[in-house]
Symmetry: C2
Subunit: 312 residues, 2 copies
């Protein structure tokens, strides 16, 4: 059993309406008002999600930004967050001041505030859990379940950089520095998420790799996505083969780009958003009736062999 | 620096109105409605907050209940929670099914639902973070800052049991079994918290020991508490000295009883609550003007020498 199996078997049965059956990137709570409160949680573990030798300020930013990315994928405006930090005693005095200053910088950048949390010791590694809270007008959030037959599948930015950055973390090259930076400090698409709020029929942020997250969208909407391998927006890095780049884009995680579906008549509007905000938006596939698979490929000669990352 | 110093120096400056300056057990968010949303987070770390050999179902209940206790201390009705679980791969198949069934039992008991979270692997120990969400009418939550000069200090139940249970975990005796059970599965005073919502001027749950948590109340209200050592409600356990029992009550943590202040004219009402709900409520001190100390003792001949538990 992998972590999704465990979640489905043991935790999903505990959830109800607010958790939206765990089908989305966040929970939605309507507190008798004209706004919905959007809630999401992500944990970063030393040795699993980060190496441990990074600057604690960068680790703070990454912790916050993977959560901000969940707000982006819901089309929600992030407003506050809480933090639980478990840390070995001997790391406290070096780590916490730098970690706090990283949080401060990103709080100001993204207009957020901390509301509380917990600070405890840990017998070995650092464990960081952040819950983030955002809002939308009632019912205006974008779910993973709303894709329609005939929708186009779009993705923001360029894919695979983060995995390339991680795999080449100790190599030096100016071409790799962008990739390493993207691995260290992702750029959550918060503003784009807000702009897509009325455009996207379904949306998810790419944290588990394009193949896995596309499948999430297709499965939750009960449709099939045909992904065109010729259209995937790849970085251009010398000495790394196209096959490796495509592999990183399809199966590497941590890109935190937005993957969304919309009606073909929105294409012009998306071009305008793309130009005005200097964000690449690429149509990489389309949604079809489900027959036997949630995901099909076009131009399969390029398909690398690999597996998405699973925790268990 | 201990964890409070770190929190004050590095995290408190990041908080704003919603976090209430970290003065309370939870944050309060008013979402443009007639209800306040009360939010709190607690982390349990294997090897720090639990041993690791306990039944995972009990660990689940403890994780949920320490959070429920924060809702109780705010006078809030708990409604939902999220969960982040980081766990070593080799423990997953044994731990998760039992952990989930413990959550299920307590969800039903306390009328809660899970709304989401994160499940990740961990290189060594288990780390559990739960954020809990409750509600009160607008502004009706009970803070730590509202104690008034002349208020009486009350505590629910009996103190020190949890520490006695932990210290004698491997000994067998029918007298110790209640203490061990209280250590393993605390009883959050959720209903009592709701009943005290209009009665208590200030309230906190005892998680760090009576001395530390009384000091929190006094300090946050800018007053001094005089604690009468003759009045502390202690358990009756053969072979454990009164000095050890008082020590456990004053400095041991994890009791999760409610500590609150109220006007002396509420004493009759408290007696009624106590009788109707079969919960012991004891007046153990009173609030005076602050002069040089936040905490003074009456009948100091009994005072044991010890320190509250600090993480760092």
């Amino acid at each position: 059993m992998n972590e999704f199996d465990y979640i489905n078997k043991y935790f999903k049965p505990l959830t109800g309406n607010i958790g939206r059956n765990l089908k989305d990137d966040a929970a939605v709570f309507r507190q008798n008002s004209n706004k919905d409160l959007i809630i999401s949680t992500d944990t970063l573990v030393e040795g699993v999600h980060f190496i441990g030798t990074e600057n604690p300020s960068d680790i703070a930013k990454k912790s916050l930004r993977v959560n901000l990315s969940d707000m982006a994928s819901m089309g929600a405006k992030p407003i506050f967050y809480n933090l639980s930090l478990s840390i070995p005693k001997e790391k406290v005095s070096f780590f916490i001041p730098r970690f706090s200053s990283g949080l401060k910088e990103d709080q100001e950048k993204f207009n957020l505030e901390l509301i509380g949390g917990d600070l405890t010791s840990s017998p070995s590694h650092i464990n960081i859990t952040i819950s983030i809270f955002g809002e939308t007008q009632n019912g205006a959030f974008v779910s993973r379940t709303g894709a329609r037959n005939g929708d186009l599948l779009f993705v923001s930015g360029i894919l695979g950089l983060s995995k390339i950055g991680l795999d080449n973390f100790n190599k030096k090259s100016k071409f790799l520095s962008i990739a390493k930076k993207k691995y260290l400090i992702p750029q959550p698409r918060v503003n784009l998420g807000l702009l897509l709020n009325n455009v996207a029929n379904s949306m998810i942020d790419i944290s588990d790799g394009l193949v896995q997250d596309t499948t999430h969208l297709a499965m939750n909407s009960g449709l099939c996505v045909e992904l065109d391998l010729n259209k995937i927006p790849l970085p251009n890095i010398p000495n790394i083969s196209n096959n490796s780049l495509l592999n990183a884009a399809l199966y590497g995680g941590d890109d935190y780009e937005l993957l969304f579906s919309c009606n073909p008549n929105q294409e012009q509007y998306l071009k305008k958003i793309s130009q005005t905000n200097h964000i690449k938006l690429t149509n990489i596939g389309d949604f079809k009736t489900y027959e036997d698979k949630f995901l099909k490929f076009k131009n399969t000669s390029k398909l690398p062999k690999n597996k998405s990352y699973l925790h268990f």
